[in-house]
Symmetry: C2
Subunit: 547 residues, 2 copies
């Protein structure tokens, strides 16, 4: 790394989470934070009051002994206190650990232990989740989050303290010290399907820069209203509260919500005139149904919903826009990217003219990398592929808020390479700069040095109206390395022939890409959580061939 | 500074100027850069081509021996090459020094020598300016910027090379190395009225963060068109090209322009559909006159012009808006703040309702601090004043892009205090967070522990239609420390009495604030560049009193 003349600018001024909140509280003190409590009531506060509460909270935690280097777990919904902990804990140079309350209990126990959490904050409604880990080694005590007096709360947890009671006598100004910017402000664990969850520790610097990029990419400012829809304990939300506070936006916190509360979210989006929210197809699909069920659906013109997790179905994006005027913006990210890496907002004016159909198709792409993020797709030898929309490879990402290792997991070092994170996603970059992901890398079929997308082929097979399900896997081949094999499940009472499948595919795929074999089957193997189990299919196929 | 757990995010990924340009060139390669050459012709290029030219330029400079730690001066207009140098020089870990071609020749010589510039780039049209410094010690050679073949250029400069010729054979990809982010990317010198110019060295980190904040505050993105109106060698422009490139905005470069070219600027703003520009009252006032002179003034709705230097007159802001629909946004900054610190864009929705008059009045304030900037006004003992719109003090600023020292000027250490830069400007912060500057600190009258604004009082005196000019100074007073004295120049043929001035002031000012003395005078002393010379007035007054 080259070093030149040393500058005279404030280069030792650290990027700190506290500064984001202080800026909002000092410059936009009256801007609202609207939150829903456990009883379902909506309440209103503002940045001035929140900074005072964060100060009291930092005072209380500090008095408990929480300080630099401590890991503090949080089990909570999208509550006011959760937002406050986002700032109170990092403000002490401690690290706030997100605990995903939907993790399998065994995995949750692993996360608490592996992260060496010394204190865990638990919302009163989640005490049963916590109590399963009452003997977690290393935990000095449990901090209960509740509006109730402590004598109304029963729990089997040992060493319990009550945050609101601790806060009562703390002063409204806490003397926050500067925190070295590479200190971890937050920790989160992946919820991967294989192996134990892996932890990422996010620095103050990373989250400050991520906030600045989200603010500019998603056009946030103090006149916007942000609703944090996706659970704050889930990666899809992690970097959003900081961006909303950094922009000093008006914030709406829906508290605890479950599937049956979709109407509450849907009403609040309209009533609070939300302009930016986050979401996922699993939330937005029932929300659209809810709006459809209303005699008069609301006008949500001006609302953008950043939608991650998986590519939103066209019918969802189009239906939402047509019914409400609200826009669903697809974005891509992961635990390893804090979480945002690419977003598909306004089209650049330099794109050639498109038909409406082409435009909707492009809206399903993962979008363009945000300022600060470098992306490339690389072949198996690590060579970057040209931006031609055809040359597929694994997506690699680097940047100031992209992970370069997992916390205390030297066994996972091969997920990182030269400062790049290997996403495990396969796709292409188009001439217009757009990223289009197709498969998880492990589902791509590598044949004769070229890649065949299993998902593209499955979608093509599904165009046959008699087909209920399709799965394309790569099977070992001595000459071509791998060859595709397609499994097809007909709809009930329908018949599907191998030839009809092949004929359809031959219209779209080159001859060398066509499946070696098409297997019509009554059902496909699935994992315990209902996902297609392609690994199982590959093993079954191989063992049948060798019999 | 507290240090906690070390994060696992990419915290060693340095913030580099090259990354801004690479992001634009990779993701928005076709977005245009429109530039006007010395002949006055407009030409079009794009980010793809510009990155190739910056690469060739870096190759050429590197071959000359320019590298880490070198200072490279630039004497140029708002040209394409000037923009390219903004990236080619810092990309080599060298520092690009802005040379203000309007500086007095002696000061320019001082800057070249004090900065230890080893190479100086000069546009062919500015060779006479450079030739006055042909013997500058430390300069190894002069790099001529021109589209002409070298044999058509005559100069008395020694050791001359021609940049375009050096670039010709360089490859379109330069292997840019990472630059440590605290390395100085740019240098600029203040043009203060007292003493020698003082230098500030701006780090890659500072300018990257400044760019991100300007992008979000001024709502820049790839669908905006930015025109760099203020000279790129002037502090009011320094941080703007980087922000425009970081946002991958379409950029319009008007090249060399002088007062008589105001029509060219005005036409380009309209024809190129510019949405963001920078400017100053001295540019915008004649521009408004130009638009007024047209039979059909253009519709500039959507255009925002960030206007610094001094508070734009209400008549200018209002006139511009009414005639063209374009908006003038006042912003505040300085060489020491890279340059932006506060901006007065959209009003926060939390402000109480205002009459149109009140709204226009608020538009003249310096605005709200941008994300990343801390401001305070402090009394003479350094105590921060409350945000009440009344308690005046000196404006102090700190943040990642605010200077913490001057380059090799230990004699100026008292301009900085605990990481804060002392701006020398006096003003108040209002309850709504807005900064309102009133005076240069040296012009404030400190009386009995309170401050009296000389500018407020001057403006009040000017409300008398018979008054041509007014100046209020503070004179020493044994009891009150200072007392105000007002000088009044009547308009030609008019008479102004002391009593009429006092009567008018008594309506607006408290009794203790009223001037000790009102002196009606035919003219006021001025400096060589025409500014009111209050120092002279104070000296004259004091010596007259002691006679």
């Amino acid at each position: 790394m080259l070093e030149g003349l040393r500058a005279t600018t404030g280069d030792d001024y650290p990027l700190n989470m506290t500064s984001l909140l202080r800026h909002a509280a000092t410059t936009f003190p009256d801007n609202e934070i609207v939150y829903r409590d456990l009883n379902g009531s909506w309440n209103r506060t503002n940045y001035r009051e929140e900074f005072a509460r964060v100060s009291k909270m930092a005072g209380a935690l500090s008095r408990l002994g929480v300080g630099a280097g401590d890991m503090v777990g949080v089990l909570d919904w999208n509550s006011r206190r959760h937002l406050e902990l986002y700032f109170a804990v990092p403000g002490l140079a401690a690290t706030m650990l997100q605990l995903n309350l939907r993790l399998a209990s065994e995995d949750l126990g692993y996360v608490i232990e592996h992260s060496q959490a010394s204190w865990v904050c638990v919302d009163e409604s989640l005490l049963p989740v916590a109590e399963a880990h009452r003997d977690a080694p290393g935990v000095k005590g449990w901090i209960v989050l509740s509006d109730k007096p402590s004598d109304q709360i029963e729990t089997t947890l040992p060493n319990v303290v009550f945050l609101e009671e601790l806060m009562k006598d703390e002063p409204e100004e806490y003397p926050f010290e500067w925190v070295e910017e590479k200190t971890a402000a937050y920790a989160g664990y992946t919820t991967g399907t294989t192996g134990r969850p892996k932890g990422i520790l996010y620095s103050h610097r990373a989250m400050y820069l991520h906030s600045m990029t989200v603010i500019s990419s998603e056009k946030l400012n103090y006149n916007e209203t942000v609703m944090l829809v996706t659970p704050m304990f889930h990666v899809m939300c992690w970097g959003f509260p900081q961006a909303a506070v950094g922009a000093a936006a008006r914030i709406i916190l829906p508290g605890r919500w479950q599937a049956q509360d979709i109407g509450v979210l849907a009403e609040a989006l309209a009533e609070e005139h939300v302009t930016l929210a986050n979401g996922a197809p699993s939330i937005l699909t029932p929300m659209l149904e809810y709006y459809r069920s209303l005699p008069t659906p609301p006008d949500l013109t001006g609302l953008r919903i950043v939608c991650g997790a998986s590519e939103p179905p066209l019918s969802l994006m189009q239906g939402f826009k047509e019914l409400t005027g609200g826009e669903i913006i697809h974005a891509y990210g992961a635990s390893e990217t804090s979480p945002m890496a690419t977003t598909n907002g306004d089209f650049p004016h330099t794109l050639p003219e498109m038909s409406e159909e082409e435009a909707w198709d492009l809206k399903r792409y993962q979008g363009l990398p945000m300022l600060g993020v470098d992306i490339k797709v690389a072949d198996l030898d690590g060579n970057p592929q040209p931006h031609d929309g055809e040359s597929a490879g694994e997506l690699l990402i680097r940047g100031p808020w992209v992970a370069t290792s997992y916390y205390n997991r030297p066994d996972s070092a091969d997920s990182f390479e030269d400062g790049w994170w290997r996403s495990g996603d396969a796709g292409v970059i188009c001439e217009n700069g757009y990223l289009k992901l197709t498969d998880r890398l492990k589902d791509v079929i590598k044949s004769g040095g070229e890649w065949i997308s299993s998902i593209d082929m499955e979608n093509a097979i599904l165009d046959n109206p008699r087909v209920a399900e399709a799965a394309v896997i790569g099977v070992p081949d001595p000459k071509w390395e791998e060859r595709p094999v397609a499994y097809v499940v007909p709809k009930e009472g329908q018949e599907v022939t191998e030839d009809s499948v092949l004929d359809l595919l031959a219209q779209r795929f080159a001859k060398w890409q066509l499946p070696e074999k098409i297997i019509v089957s009554a059902e496909l193997p699935r994992t315990s959580v209902g996902k297609l189990n392609k690994r199982q299919m590959r093993e079954d196929y191989t063992s049948e061939q060798s019999n």
